[in-house]
Symmetry: C2
């Protein structure tokens, strides 16, 4: 093993570690305050580096947010990869939704305004993000159709609407509302939202 190779590898490792630290910070700040309210100064101060250094890693605030989204997407893909492909698809869907809500309650689900156009443009141009989004959508879409075939999920609702409804649980304000009320712990909150999402509000 050549010394130079080791050195480069080590430098690269340091580089990645620093960028990971940045992204984790961005992730938390995005979850706390959203994209517009999060300032680059704040990110730099929290990470403990100068703002100019931050811009050496990420060329814009939008790219910073996109990197956070990519990281979360990869975490979602990793989680989905642990789920069985043969078991009941409905259970898998429920597991994924539960996972996203746990992430949000843990303050690690970045919340982006669906309106901001410059941010949308950067995200849509990000291959990592789009690839991840498509893979996740494909897998969940397959489970949805399988669950519908099994008669476990309402066949009257198009699969795409089901998919969007599941995605929306990742940014459901009901989670925050119930948390602010202070009457329920995180597990209870998730169970409540799971119930309203899958069983509906009507009595059964």
């Amino acid at each position: 093993m050549k010394p130079t190779a080791v050195k480069i590898s080590f430098k690269e490792q340091m580089h990645r570690a620093r960028e990971d630290a940045i992204i984790r910070t961005v992730n938390v700040l995005l979850a706390q305050k959203g994209f517009e309210a999060m300032t680059v100064d704040e990110v730099a101060a929290t990470v403990g580096i100068a703002k100019a250094s931050l811009y050496k890693h990420f060329p814009s605030k939008e790219d910073l947010a996109a990197a956070a989204m990519v990281q979360v997407m990869h975490r979602a893909q990793d989680y989905i990869a642990t789920l069985s492909t043969t078991d009941a698809p409905l259970d898998n869907l429920r597991s994924v939704v539960r996972w996203t809500m746990e992430l949000k309650l843990a303050g690690q689900m970045p919340s982006l305004p669906s309106q901001n156009s410059t941010l949308r443009a950067v995200l849509m141009a990000n291959k990592d993000y789009m690839d991840g989004l498509m893979e996740v959508s494909d897998v969940l879409g397959g489970w949805i159709e399988a669950a519908q075939s099994q008669g476990k999920v309402n066949k009257q609702v198009p699969a795409i609407a089901i998919l969007y409804t599941l995605f929306a649980r990742a940014c459901d304000p009901v989670l925050e509302f119930l948390k602010m009320g202070g009457m329920y712990d995180d597990a209870q909150i998730i169970n409540l939202v799971m119930a309203t999402c899958f069983d509906g509000l009507n009595a059964r």
Copy 2:
């Protein structure tokens, strides 16, 4: 009828009309771009008055947004007042949810970031808004409990969680997602979300 009284009343009427025009504009802009992305310059330009004039009517951008929220709240109260108090409470709840989603799809439901602290402070300090919010919550809460007593709504879920779930339909991103897809018209979109909300995703 004294001339002076007439004159004052007319002036007051003009004043209100102008403020109503401002608020309508704010309402649309808030629905389109959200609070942070909406600029006061933009509001003034759209209304067709100078920015300084705007500040004579509303002391801050937050108050501008609060006025829009109050207007929507009053519209909600007016709508709720048209609903029967003796009929099936579940039908009333469904009507209100449908009304809020129609408003959102029409681009007239202002979307505020639940994170912005200065805006929250202004809203919480606004008596008109808080009174309206409480009245609406009381009425809907009563209907929810009545529907639960009738066995029409799931009794396992606390009324407060039901209430939050209904409120959340007013800012449900699934509406935008489905609209962007272009596969369904507004009526179909609302029916889909109504179905997932009340019947749930599981097959029945």
